[in-house]
């Protein structure tokens, strides 16, 4: 036991992240056994990743909000109203003659609305000083009501075909859109970036004469990261497009269907590509920029941040603007996946997002939390839900399990923090 502990400590990994990954593996293996091997199949993992995407995107923003000691209870309702607005925009307002421009115009419109709503929340909270709990609790009601008003309750369907690809249906993947090799290319680029990043930061530390991790520890960490990336690509590649869908794709492209049938690996779904892109951008923003530094400083000690010359009000305003942006992107993914928008879109998402963030190690007291942790938290929650669905447990039981895991996760984290402080 001591040897393992020493080994882990030499790797300088975040022990909380380590514990979370362990818990996730445990959940996956348990569901796989209980479902006679149905859980850990390419098909299920592919669906799991799609179902996680929408909540994961909002969790990125929720990390920043909770780290600055705020809260956003309105995320699900804002997602609902943005989804409705974009649905109406693309299928009722924009003329068909726009063709391939419909989806980008719709997405830009949705993001603009998201920024406005986020900015409005940020202004009320940051500049007028109304507590975030109150503003976003009001927002929870207001924006859900607004979602209804957009079409007086009618469901909007179908959506633009290109727009729907952003939700990652059978055709919304790299395999279907770019080519069967493209997911591997993305995987290899990610591996190259990881290796080069590790080498560069090591060289920099040596140049400054700072202490560095032993080379074997550095290698182990980088190799693990690369293996995870490649394993993910392999699983997504292993999921093949259903035969009929593949046949239609060939016919649409004017290709002749070979006799033996067609095998098209789906590869990485487009929404997952969006999630990964956002995770990279916002992790850099949060850990490598002034903005991110101030987010943590405000959460750790607002008064100290203020005395250091940081404008807390403006920071809080911008954090909510960012949340508006991410909610809009999440609304794109969620409505595109469902291929429709109704006024119930996103109901209850705010709680799933907050739960993901908190399970992922973000402290409600502020100052502590990471984006990768929150993404893992979202995967944990979605794993529980889809695993229980697979086992035939009904949704009331799923809620009980999710709630219990939330409380247990926070309790264990508190115990860990307390022991570390001693």
């Amino acid at each position: 036991m001591g040897a393992i502990k020493r080994f882990i400590s030499r790797l300088e990994l975040d022990p909380r992240l380590f514990g979370m990954i362990g818990a996730l593996v445990l959940i996956w293996v348990a569901f796989d056994i209980a479902s006679d091997g149905l859980f850990l199949t390419p098909r299920n993992l592919y669906n799991l990743s799609l179902q996680t995407a929408s909540v994961a995107i909002m969790a990125i923003g929720m990390v920043m909000i909770i780290v600055t000691r705020q809260i956003d209870l309105s995320a699900g309702s804002v997602l609902g109203v943005l989804g409705m607005l974009m649905a109406v925009m693309q299928s009722r307002i924009l003329p068909d003659s726009l063709g391939g421009w419909i989806w980008p115009v719709t997405v830009v419109f949705g993001i603009a609305c998201g920024l406005i709503i986020g900015g409005f929340h940020g202004w009320l909270i940051g500049y007028l000083g109304i507590p975030a709990f109150v503003v976003t609790l009001g927002g929870l009601l207001v924006w859900r009501g607004a979602a209804w008003w957009v079409t007086t309750g009618q469901t909007v369907s179908p959506l633009d075909q290109n727009f729907e690809l952003l939700g990652g249906g059978v055709y919304g993947t790299l395999g279907a859109q770019v080519g069967s090799w493209s997911s591997w290319l993305v995987g290899l680029i990610a591996v190259a970036a990881l290796v080069m990043g590790a080498l560069r930061s090591r060289r920099k530390r040596i140049a400054y004469g700072f202490p560095v991790r032993p080379i074997w520890a550095e290698s182990v960490v980088t190799v693990i990261q690369c293996v995870v990336v490649l394993a993910f690509v392999a699983v997504m590649q292993a999921y093949e497009m259903p035969g009929i869908a593949a046949k239609r794709l060939y016919e649409a492209r004017g290709l002749t269907v070979p006799d033996g049938g067609i095998v098209i690996p789906e590869g990485i779904p487009i929404p997952i590509l969006i999630v990964l892109g956002l995770v990279i951008i916002f992790t850099v923003l949060l850990t490598r920029s002034r903005f991110g530094r101030y987010v943590y400083a405000i959460g750790g000690n607002p008064e100290a941040a203020n005395l250091a010359g940081i404008n807390n009000k403006r920071m809080i305003f911008w954090v909510f603007v960012v949340m508006g942006l991410l909610t809009a992107i999440s609304a794109v993914v969620a409505s595109a996946r469902l291929q429709s928008a109704d006024n119930g879109l996103g109901t209850g998402d705010e709680l799933r997002v907050i739960a993901s963030t908190v399970i992922g190690g973000t402290s409600l007291m502020g100052g502590i939390g990471t984006i990768p942790g929150a993404i893992l938290g979202a995967v944990v929650i979605q794993s529980l839900q889809s695993g229980m669905t697979l086992l035939g447990a009904d949704s009331s039981l799923q809620n009980i399990a999710t709630g219990a895991v939330l409380v247990i996760a926070v309790f264990l984290d508190m115990q860990y923090q307390r022991r570390r402080r001693k």
């Binding site: 490598r288 101030y294 005395l307 010359g309």
Partner: protein
């Protein structure tokens, strides 16, 4: 170090480093600071004394930009300045070390040292290598045994935390340093480290306002004592001219001892 050695270096005939003239601050109907004038010379430590609620913290927060004064002026090196925010104070090279709220506990020493004044690369991202390098250099001077560069400051001892706060002052070349109860939370050995640091900064020509409840602290370090009571200035005396009992009399009774009043009053 003897007191004589610390006081002789100060040139009271030169222009003061800083003058706060006729400062008044009110909260609602309460006059927290009422027409108070104080000053500070280069290389001088001025102990600011008074009961809780005497107005010393309020006065000093005007200087550090946390509060606005209703009336009065601030002059630095003979030039009138306006301080409306913490940023203005920092731009005038006024650094403040607060008893407990100076640091963001969740960030490491380096992040705290550069908080609000981070070094950035051409890309706009933080230049973490350069900041860590500077932090290691400054901390190496102030606290050579310090090694926890990547731990959040909540994991540091009181003395280590205080040295991180002081490192900020040294790195950014402060000329005026405000210390609010710098040793209140520290043990004996750590207090000594901080005292040595203060003497070192003083030698470098930095002017220091020292707010303290601990009269021993003040007598150990301060060249002058400025006492406030109920928002008003009682007066200033040279530490070498008075006894601790006389200063206590100023604090408690608001009564000037029978000695020459120090530089403050001549400043106006």
């Amino acid at each position: 170090m003897s007191e004589a050695a610390t006081t002789t270096a100060i040139n009271y005939s030169s222009a003061p480093l800083i003058e706060m003239r006729n400062i008044s601050v009110s909260f609602g109907g309460v006059r927290a600071v009422d027409d108070v004038s104080v000053n500070l010379y280069p290389g001088e430590v001025v102990g600011l004394l008074g009961h809780n609620g005497a107005g010393k913290s309020t006065l000093i927060k005007v200087l550090s930009g946390a509060y606005h004064s209703d009336s009065g002026e601030i002059w630095i090196n003979g030039k009138k300045v306006t301080i409306n925010s913490a940023r203005d104070a920092l731009d005038n090279r006024i650094e403040t070390i607060y008893q407990n709220l100076a640091l963001a506990d969740n960030l490491d020493a380096c992040a705290n040292l550069f908080l609000g004044r981070e070094e950035v690369l051409a890309s706009g991202l933080l230049d973490e290598g350069r900041m860590e390098d500077a932090t290691r250099k400054v901390m190496g001077r102030l606290n050579p045994n310090f090694q926890k560069f990547h731990a959040p400051v909540s994991a540091l001892s009181g003395g280590q935390r205080q040295s991180v706060a002081i490192a900020r002052t040294v790195h950014f070349n402060a000329r005026i340093l405000i210390m609010d109860e710098p040793t209140a939370a520290l043990g004996v050995a750590e207090t000594k480290v901080i005292h040595d640091l203060i003497r070192q900064l003083k030698k470098e020509g930095i002017g220091i306002f020292l707010i303290s409840h601990d009269i021993h602290d003040v007598f150990d370090l301060a060249d002058r004592c400025t006492v406030m009571k109920n928002g008003k200035l009682v007066g200033s005396v040279y530490t070498k001219d008075v006894t601790q009992d006389e200063v206590l009399g100023m604090i408690i009774l608001g009564k000037m001892p029978n000695v020459q009043s120090a530089a403050n009053t001549t400043a106006n």
